[in-house]
Amino acid sequence: MAFFEPMQKATEPRHWLGDMEADHYFYGAGVMGQRFFEALRDEGKLLGSRCERCDWTYVPPRLYCERCFAELKELRDVGLRGRVKAFTVVYVNKQGEPLDPPEVFALIEFGPNITPFLHKLGDAPPERVHVGMVVEAVLKPPAEREGKITDIRYFRPI
């Protein structure tokens, strides 16, 4: 077996730069996603799908229950208000540079027996955020909504 002198620079030996061509997929919304995003865009509502057998609601809605594997048909409006279950204040971007101002991500619970929902918090100084804090979704104005998860700008404390 050959042993090699360690090199100091990764770019010292001959190398080639390349890309993984992964930027050009499209991802379909699916049956439940279609209804979720239409309700968000057109009515400003957040929908979940409920499993009657498990008494459990999924937000965003899914076509199936991951607990009992039933097909779910019942959609319910879970409202725009919830409580912070967990949160984190992010200080860096993907390059490791400072994010100014920092971004706050949170898991939000709309009520008992509902899966937590991942989104961002806004209008909230990081030092004021706490578990259990009541927050509500701030939506983009109707004319600006596109039927995307970012139609919710963030959740703010109330």
Partner: protein, 387 residues
């Protein structure tokens, strides 16, 4: 069913950069060492080869077609597991237990230094409709998910930031005695707590730095293992489990690891882990993960691991040493090779070949892997040196 034992191990040192070899040569180096250690010729003696890799880490699509030549596996049974190395190990165990194969080779590697957009690939693992757009908007670092999970774990268990910081101190100190580990150093809890926050409460020094490296293990059926080597290390149990993939579904407990451990323990006849296990090697890509994983293994009650760590229970001379190798924080985040790196340390310790970091009188060790942010997949393997 037949017993399965590890009869050969080979690896490269783990390092931040490995520009002098390409990824195939890196694998070749580790494979040659493993075959030498087992005393086998891969062209003659191996019935099946398994690589553990994922296209996006490698920069190839259909990466599994690129695996045979550097392992001596051309024109032989070979397949790829898209997951952590311990999942490949589980496949090897099954191939031998069923009688399909007698000798099987498992390989996993990291050449992650050649991926220039690591954080973007991690984000691409998020749900593309509901999750990724949230961090993409402001180019947020995807490890915010680890910060979120850490906050949940601390809040619900009462574990403290000091206890998490102490994990880093212990790992990096253990790594000083491991010649394979690149990130050994002496530091204090204050050094860790004072390092810049990445995603509060997660600090930068609590994130395992990435490393390149390769690990190859040779497995054989019990009767062959006894013939091939003096100290076969038996795989007494192996389990794996996946949680719901949704980031928002993750709880304070590492349920994937707990279920994987239950599966492995049942096969190994382990009913009282604290009594029956001598040491553990667990994934700790983020410091709090060591504590969460130790609890999932049943080696501490939920929320107690941090306190027990400060009491010295998991240090090299403690009652139940954890990560004598230095773990991911000291030896590096080896991506899909992480599980085999943990297994390698367990095997070296059980063989009595761990050099300056050798633990005294160890018979049973356990390895635990986790696939990393944002996933909830883990695997657990129980290894024993039979007297």
């Amino acid at each position: 069913m037949r017993d399965v034992a590890i009869v050969g191990v080979g690896c490269t040192p783990f390092r931040p950069l490995t520009p002098e070899v390409n990824w195939k040569e890196l694998t070749f180096q580790a494979a040659v060492r493993a075959y030498e250690d087992a005393g086998i010729d891969p062209r003659r003696d191996v019935d099946s080869f398994i690589t553990c890799a994922e296209d996006f880490w490698e920069g190839f699509s259909i990466f599994d077609e690129f695996t045979p030549d550097q392992l001596g596996a051309v024109l032989r049974p070979m397949h790829t597991v898209t997951g952590d190395g311990l999942l490949g190990l589980a496949n090897a165990v099954m191939q031998i237990k069923t009688g399909l194969c007698d000798v099987v080779v498992v390989e996993a590697h990291s050449k992650i230094s050649e991926l220039l957009t690591f954080e973007h690939v991690v984000e691409l693992a998020f749900d593309s409709v509901y999750e990724a757009p949230l961090s993409r908007e402001r180019d947020v670092h995807p490890y915010y998910v680890a910060g979120l999970e850490m906050q949940l774990y601390l809040h619900e268990t009462g574990t403290t930031e000091e206890q998490c910081a102490a994990v880093v101190v212990q790992d990096k100190q253990n790594a000083l005695l491991n010649p394979l580990a690149p990130y050994g150093t002496r530091m204090s809890v204050d050094d860790v707590l004072g390092s810049p926050p990445l995603s509060d409460p997660l600090k930068r020094l609590e994130v395992a730095p990435r490393a390149d490296g390769c690990v190859v293990l040779v497995l054989a059926a019990g009767e062959i293992a006894e013939r091939l080597c003096e100290v076969p290390i038996y795989i007494e149990g192996i389990g794996w489990c996946s949680e719901s993939p949704w980031i928002a579904a993750r709880g304070a407990e590492a349920l994937y690891a707990k279920r994987a451990a239950q599966m492995a323990y049942e096969q190994a006849g382990i009913t009282n882990p604290l009594q029956q296990i001598d040491f553990a090697e667990v994934d700790d890509r983020f410091a709090f993960k060591l504590l969460q994983h130790v609890e999932a293994l049943g080696l501490a009650h939920p929320g107690q691991a941090g306190k027990l760590l400060l009491d010295g229970m998991f240090s090299r001379d403690g009652e139940l040493p954890v990560n004598p190798s230095g773990g991911c924080l000291g030896a590096g985040d080896l991506i899909e090779a992480g599980g085999l790196a943990r297994a390698l340390e367990v095997v070296l310790q059980l063989r009595g070949e761990a050099g300056a970091r050798q633990l005294p009188d160890v018979e049973t060790g356990v390895a635990l892997s986790w696939r990393g942010v944002p996933h909830g997949t883990g695997a657990v393997a129980v290894f024993r040196r039979r007297s």
